[in-house]
Amino acid sequence: MISAIHLLAFCGGFIIMSFELLGGRILAPYFGSGVYVWGSIITIFMLSLAIGYLLGGRLSVKNPSPRKFAGIFAVSAIFLYPMILYAQPVMEFIFLHIEDPRYGSLTAAAFLFMVPTIILGMISPYSVRLLVDNVEESGKVAGALYFTSTLGSAIGTLVTSFYLVLWFEVDTIITILTLILLSIGLMAWFVAPDQLATSRDSAADPAPGV
């Protein structure tokens, strides 16, 4: 269970950064590839992750379960994929209505990337909740999860920018990311127990033998 959640958090981190990197490709035809475009993308991703952390933390308070955790992945896939279909018309509309490419790219980034990234941002705090057994170890558990998810982000950035863009079209890569999210979400859903194991539920109880 522990390693499964770490693997899921790793994939979450991988997909967030792969998606962010593709964001530059998606916006360039309408808003250029200037430093302000990257400014817009990074701003929106950071903002979305911030909101996602908040919401993921809230969601983890009531009846946390590995199944709900798996559900986050499936839902993020559902919100990620349609971007392939509506990116062009959305950017076209924004391009026509906002002349300054700085605010144009910021608005487009918000419309295209925000919702899936907020949902992906919920993964980290939720996985902390699933793995924390007691207060003493909570920092260690959170640290280990930050480690795996950020490692996933690093590798996602590298693989996407070095190889994926050389092999595949942008929409193909988004499709691959969606399929990864969907399949790990579904797998986790069927494998995961509906509830947290009872020993995990009662973190305040003394461990047996103490």
Binding site: A28, G32, S33, V35, L96
Partner: protein, 330 residues
């Protein structure tokens, strides 16, 4: 080392011995160049200006009479643009001279769009040759614009404008405003980094839609690496046929598409006689710029009908697939 002192160091008075301050600094700068730098010049290159912009490192160097603009500090001998300070009209680089051969197919352009300013060699020359023409040069880097004006005799006028913008954004806005150009020159690719969104089927199609019926597209592009094939197929996909002009002794190639707005089948055939007659007519205009237009015309005629010398199976670059920088190093 910058010759113009940073703002914080400038005196607060606006005049200097009755002169406007700008002229005072120019005089001081001229004095500094002649007194301090002349001895160094004999020894080799002198750095006149160094600047880090948002996009690149800018280096202006001078060796004897040749003043050059470089975008990289590592390979300081690969210049973007050079100007002979004793003969500023003379085009130092082969690719700039080759780019001028686009005029063979439209010898009196009224509206000109240039992507990439560099030292401003092309807009400066075209404005001198066609003072009536309206030239718009798109340059993303404001620091490059400053350097062209300060060190490469580039002067902006109402008819010779520089727009600080991403060329993709400019092209889309120009289309909305229904602008049309008789000559479009794409010169945005420096040796080290390619703006990938300016080398795709979609961008070239946008450029194509900005051309008048007799409009010519000229692009300074790559002659080596995997990119040569990918890029050639990208041009082929948009324009069908194009003139593939390779430098006799440089690694550049120039793509020229006469009547780029219409399909290849509908374009007027290029005859050697017409091409040479056009070259004869242009020759006196281009002589001060050292453009060997007659030999370029002959070179161009030789390329017509030549089979593709690249792998035609390589994928054209699109907005969806545009790893130009990775392909360049393959």
């Amino acid at each position: 080392m910058s010759l113009i002192p940073p703002r914080s160091m400038r005196p607060t008075v606006n005049r200097f011995f009755g002169m406007p301050l700008n002229s005072a600094w120019t005089l001081l700068a001229a004095f500094l160049i002649t007194s301090a730098i002349t001895p160094v010049l004999a020894a080799g290159k002198t750095v006149i200006h160094e600047e880090r912009s948002l996009y690149t490192s800018i280096l202006v160097q001078q060796q004897h009479d040749l003043r050059c603009l470089n975008f990289t500090l590592k390979r300081a001998d690969s210049s973007q643009s050079c100007m002979d300070v004793t003969d500023p009209k003379r085009m130092v680089f082969a690719y700039t001279r080759m780019a001028m051969s686009g005029l063979l197919f439209n010898s009196n352009p009224k509206n000109i769009m240039i992507v990439g300013l560099g030292g401003g060699t092309l807009p400066r020359a075209l404005h001198e040759i066609f003072p009536e023409a309206r030239i718009q040069t798109v340059e993303i880097d404001s620091a490059v614009i400053g350097v062209a004006k300060q060190f490469f005799n580039f002067t902006e006028t109402a008819d010779n404008k520089v727009i600080q913008q991403d060329a993709r954004v400019f092209a889309k806005r120009a289309a909305l405003q229904k602008q049309q150009f008789d000559l479009i020159i794409l010169d945005a690719f420096n040796g080290d980094y390619i703006p990938e969104h300016l080398m795709t089927v979609e961008f070239l199609t946008e450029a194509q839609n900005l051309l008048t019926a007799e409009g010519v597209l000229v692009a300074n592009t790559f002659a080596s690496s995997d990119l040569y094939a990918h890029e050639s197929n990208t041009y082929k996909k948009v324009f069908g046929e194009f003139i593939n002009l390779k430098g006799r002794d440089s690694g550049n190639r120039i793509v020229i598409v006469p009547q780029g707005a219409i399909s290849a089948a509908q374009r007027a055939p290029i005859s050697k006689g017409a091409l040479l007659a056009q070259a004869d007519a242009l020759s006196p205009l281009l002589a001060p710029y050292a453009v060997p237009i007659k030999s370029l015309a002959r070179d161009i005629f030789k390329t017509i009908g030549a089979p593709a010398d690249w792998d035609e199976d390589k994928r054209p670059l699109t907005d969806q697939y545009s790893p130009a920088n990775l392909l360049k190093s393959q």
